[in-house]
């Protein structure tokens, strides 16, 4: 575990990182409850357990930088400081949601904050991130693009096509592989002969870095070099974050394909608990302050739930709007 005192990072930033992680965890646990109450149509893919990745990455970005996201995207939205109310309303299919109920859990976007949207086709967001990077380069805009995807997506052609393109054109893209070991129920070792996705970076002539994806400061600490490379035109970096989802792939998946010992081992490495312990050990936060943060987050989540539950559904005929400009 990276010692926060070893990084050039202010107390305020550390507290903010902790708060964001708790926000994602509490949010996802509430989504799970709402799902059990039949308030969430369709399916859900919860980010709980992987908070260190989204928060570590987005905390190292500027507000106007871009991200692209996946079907497991609530955490990316929250880490990029999207509005909790509008995320929750979208998940519930309400008119007040980010996409007016047209997208749902798997398709949240907030273009105003550079959140270019979640695509639910595995690997499909990768070339879109590269396109945003190309746009930044052509416009000389100075942003970077963080592109989130899972280890399963790294077997798609789009992964290889896109990283090659970003590399040869030296685009400001940071490829963030959230390796949670399982693509749905398929363990990585059953479909890949390599252990580290980051090794694939060699084939495209870019740096590939493996970090402990359950250590938010390890993720955060890997970012400045990648961001710097991107901003000065030296091209992309592939950062692989080893992590684990607390729950199954989707909905009520009990994830019986994961060995019990493995689950216990990973739950023991819970990113939020580890970070909290660090903050307490280093006297960055006191127990009272931690409780205060958690209480504040709970209040905000409940406000979001209330807003979403009380919001109206879209009028049925809105289904035919927004196809064309």
């Amino acid at each position: 575990m990276v010692n926060p005192l070893a990084l050039e990072i202010t107390r305020d930033k550390l507290v903010e990182i902790y708060r964001k992680m708790v926000e994602i965890r509490f949010f996802e646990e509430r989504v799970f409850e709402l799902y059990a109450q039949n308030l969430v149509p369709g399916t859900i893919h919860l980010y709980a357990g992987e908070e260190a990745v989204a928060v570590g990455v987005c905390s190292a970005l500027r507000k106007d930088d871009y991200i692209t996201s996946t079907h497991r995207g609530h955490g990316h939205c929250i880490a990029k400081a999207a509005d909790l109310k509008q995320i929750m309303a979208e998940i519930l299919g309400k008119k007040t949601g980010y996409c007016k109920g047209k997208g749902g859990s798997m398709h949240i976007a907030d273009f105003k904050i550079g959140m270019l949207g979640a695509t639910a086709v595995v690997g499909a967001g990768i070339p879109i991130a590269v396109g945003a990077g190309l746009s930044v380069k052509l416009r000389k805009a100075g942003h970077v693009v963080a592109c989130f995807f899972g280890e399963g997506a790294s077997n798609q052609g789009t992964f290889h096509e896109s990283i090659n393109m970003a590399s040869v054109w030296k685009l400001p893209v940071i490829f963030i592989c959230e390796n949670n070991l399982y693509a749905m129920g398929t363990r990585q070792s059953r479909v890949m002969a390599i252990e580290n996705i980051a090794d694939r970076a060699v084939g495209y002539g870019i740096p590939g870095v493996v970090v402990d994806g359950n250590d938010v400061l390890a993720v955060y600490g890997a970012m400045p070099e990648a961001v710097e490379r991107a901003r000065i035109g030296e091209g992309p970096t592939l950062i692989e974050c080893k992590t684990y989802r607390r729950r199954g792939h989707s909905r009520v998946d009990a994830a019986k394909y994961r060995p019990k010992e493995e689950v216990e081992e990973w739950l023991a490495k819970d990113p939020i608990r580890r970070f909290k312990e660090r903050l307490l050990q280093t006297n960055t936060l006191t127990e009272v302050e931690v409780q205060q943060i958690e209480k504040e987050v709970s209040v905000r989540i409940e406000e979001a739930v209330k807003f979403a539950v009380e919001s109206p559904y879209p009028a049925p005929e809105e289904a035919i709007e927004d196809v064309y400009t």
Binding site: G103, A109, I128, A132, S135, E321
Partner: protein, 324 residues
């Protein structure tokens, strides 16, 4: 009026729009200074606008379109070239699931001004992977406009409209049209989507045709004049949106409809047009609707085989005579 080729008309549209708007850029395989595009549409543009804006890509169709989508939603106006229409299959997720849906599924937040240019069509003996006509695939993708210009004039005016729009456009070209010459005004003009062009007026039968088939339809019409059969040739110019009104109006006048398109017959362009007329003008028909299309086969290589499957003047004339 000056006459230029379809290829030159397309290039003029690209050049004018690139001069006018610095966010317009081109990407595709071998479109740059070393080759100028497989059909030379982009020849000379890299010399004027530089390699950044006339961008040669790796052979990665999915990433070409995906990259264009990402650029489009962040303020650029990409024009992507897919070297042959058949190869759009490689990029189908990015076209149909990403480009076309990105505005809708994000509740109207995204603006995706993207143009995908690609040549369809058989007739040059390059077999099953370089010859199909797949316009109908894209008519089945809500969120995407589908443009099918048949003349240099239409090609230029429609491409300029496509580039200036706010939504993705699938811009179909045809290999045999590139060298065809036609009148193109030197003054700037644009052609709106959803406005068909009556390429020849007539009174006896409505003949709807697209892309290269428009020229065969006109040849057939000229031939039939000798037998006092007066054919009205309607070119929809865009399939999405489709100018139903002009087609229906023509059918109401002639009482007969023949549709000729180069794609497969089943669930093809002609099927949609026939269905619309059946819904909206069946009482005006004096004969059954007839379709001239390719049989449901891939495109074969050998010249006699290939010519057998492509609709031609003879099959058009024969079909028209069946309904007169």
């Amino acid at each position: 009026m000056r006459r230029i080729t379809y290829r030159d008309a397309l290039r003029e549209a690209l050049r004018e729009e690139m001069r006018r708007d610095s966010t317009v850029f081109l990407l595709g395989e071998d479109i740059g200074r070393y080759w100028g595009g497989a059909f030379k549409v982009t020849e000379g543009l890299a010399e004027e606008f530089g390699d950044d804006r006339v961008r040669d890509t790796p052979i990665s169709e999915s990433a070409i379109i995906g990259t264009a989508v990402g650029a489009a939603i962040t303020g650029m106006r990409p024009v992507a070239e897919i070297m042959f229409g058949d190869l759009t299959a490689l990029a189908m997720d990015q076209i149909a699931n990403q480009a076309a849906k990105i505005r809708y599924m994000f509740g109207g937040q995204a603006k995706c001004p993207l143009v995908i240019r690609t040549p369809f069509g058989a007739g040059v003996n390059i077999a099953s992977h370089h010859s199909q006509s797949l316009e109908a695939w894209f008519m089945h993708v809500p969120g995407m406009y589908v443009v099918v210009p048949s003349t240099p004039y239409d090609a230029k005016g429609l491409l300029k409209t496509a580039i200036r729009g706010s939504d993705p456009v699938f811009f179909c070209e045809h290999k045999l049209l590139y060298p065809i010459e036609g009148e193109v005004s030197e003054e700037e003009y644009m052609i709106p989507f959803g406005v068909a062009d009556v390429k020849k007026e007539g009174t006896d039968v409505t003949l709807v045709a697209t892309l290269y088939m428009v020229h065969k339809a006109l040849n057939a019409a000229t031939e039939l004049e000798k037998e006092d059969i007066n054919v009205e040739v309607v070119d929809p110019r865009t399939l999405t949106p489709l100018d139903k009104q002009t087609i229906v109006k023509s059918v109401k006048k002639t009482g007969r409809l023949v549709i000729v398109s180069e794609d497969c017959r089943t669930a093809g362009v002609s099927a949609e047009i026939a269905a619309i007329v059946a819904e909206e003008a069946i009482d005006y028909l004096d004969a059954p609707i007839k379709r001239v299309a390719e049989p449901d086969t891939p495109i074969p290589f050998s010249p006699p085989l290939e010519q057998y499957v492509i609709p031609n003047e003879k099959t058009i004339i024969k079909t028209i005579k069946e309904v007169i």
